[in-house]
Symmetry: C2
Subunit: 271 residues, 2 copies
Amino acid sequence: MYVIGERINGMFKNIGNAILAKDKAPVQEMAEKQLSAGADALDINVGTRVPKSERIAAMEWLVDVVREVTKAPLSIDNPGPSTMRAGLARACVGGGTAIINSTTGRADKLDVFMKLAHEFDAGIVGLSIDENGVAPSADEKLEIGMRIIASAMENDVPIENVFLDPIILPLNVDQAAPGIVLETITQFKMLSDPAPHVVIGLSNLSQGASERPLINRTFLVMAMAAGLDTSIHDPLDDELTNAMVTAELLLNKTIYSNSYLSAYRKSKQME
Amino acid sequence: MYVIGERINGMFKNIGNAILAKDKAPVQEMAEKQLSAGADALDINVGTRVPKSERIAAMEWLVDVVREVTKAPLSIDNPGPSTMRAGLARACVGGGTAIINSTTGRADKLDVFMKLAHEFDAGIVGLSIDENGVAPSADEKLEIGMRIIASAMENDVPIENVFLDPIILPLNVDQAAPGIVLETITQFKMLSDPAPHVVIGLSNLSQGASERPLINRTFLVMAMAAGLDTSIHDPLDDELTNAMVTAELLLNKTIYSNSYLSAYRKSKQME
């Protein structure tokens, strides 16, 4: 599993405060903590407390601060193309790599972001959203997935850089949605050869629910069995990580040893 | 999920001792504990410490003792037809119901046990084992599954009473096996209409492994997403139960409330 750590986000109070105060330490500590807990990449989101006119500068500052401590891929998490371009440019300085998080399947937006993916040789998350909002059925999600893959091909973005996201809604909003997402994950993996990556923003599932960690880790395991290969989540949730590492073992993607949990953590700390 | 509690088994030291000493209390306590933790049925296995010549009497004693405290279905767990018949007869006294655990797909055994299933209107677990041992591939497991379903039809055993078991081997024996089992579960559910039940003996997966509870609950969730509807396991493992109840929620089989975990437990205690 490819884990994108979600914790550098202005929506979290400590990071939001650090961004406003231009205080590097909390951001850099959070980057390092997530990486040593197993994150392969870090999501970077300035949040909504930064005034719109200062978003670009805030994104540049945030990316620069994280780049001081790691060369890991950075997932630039922002809906606007100017802030996205600024974040990508800083993340890719000196050979760094980035992921665009995210485009939708809306024709205008898709083309702009796919061109950025080509320009920066970046990964790109494509959400199951179009002109009509979040696609509710597996068929509609697939239709948008196909549109995103077609756009990648037109724009010379390799499929290996495409991460399709079926969009998870909160469980307490629509209980039929998780099953539809599982079905969609399996079908996304069959859309092309090589297959696109499939990613979810896991924490959204349990928004507003009790038992959030339990719900998150239970669904992550199910989604992995369906074919999920990437997740944006909190790598500091140890039980989530244990469930994920165990699922990889059961899917025969890593080799069993009695110390497989600590072996995973050690391997990440050595990277 | 239909849970068959695995704990009344002579392989567990306290139950083994109770059987040899004809001491009712530990057996009846274990029956009641499992039922109030959520077991829908109870597996009954006299274990291997009882001499062969006394197996039938031991099974009759064990079933009678459990029947004194519950009318729940009893899963008679024994490979021999005479002990099986004796257990079924006692379990079904006064309108009680039973499950045959288990037959294989071997022609001679299958016919004998399927006739018992018909005679006692019992459920029957059919293992993916034939003359050549445990079927290693999904195709071979399916072939045996079809043979078991055909035998049920010939013997007038309703498909609703058939529980196909793909057989889980210990993870540290064959790491490819869990993935094959997941694939088989999905295919078993498509073998007939109505579909047979699909059951696993979960604990076998983690025999000899470290992190047994974590491995068990992670696989149970994956197997449920693949279509598993019945599990023989330890209902006293609270984290396993929490994972199972959460998986049912995510598969839209129960309705979400903030107190869904305690709601499950309360509903079982009222039964």
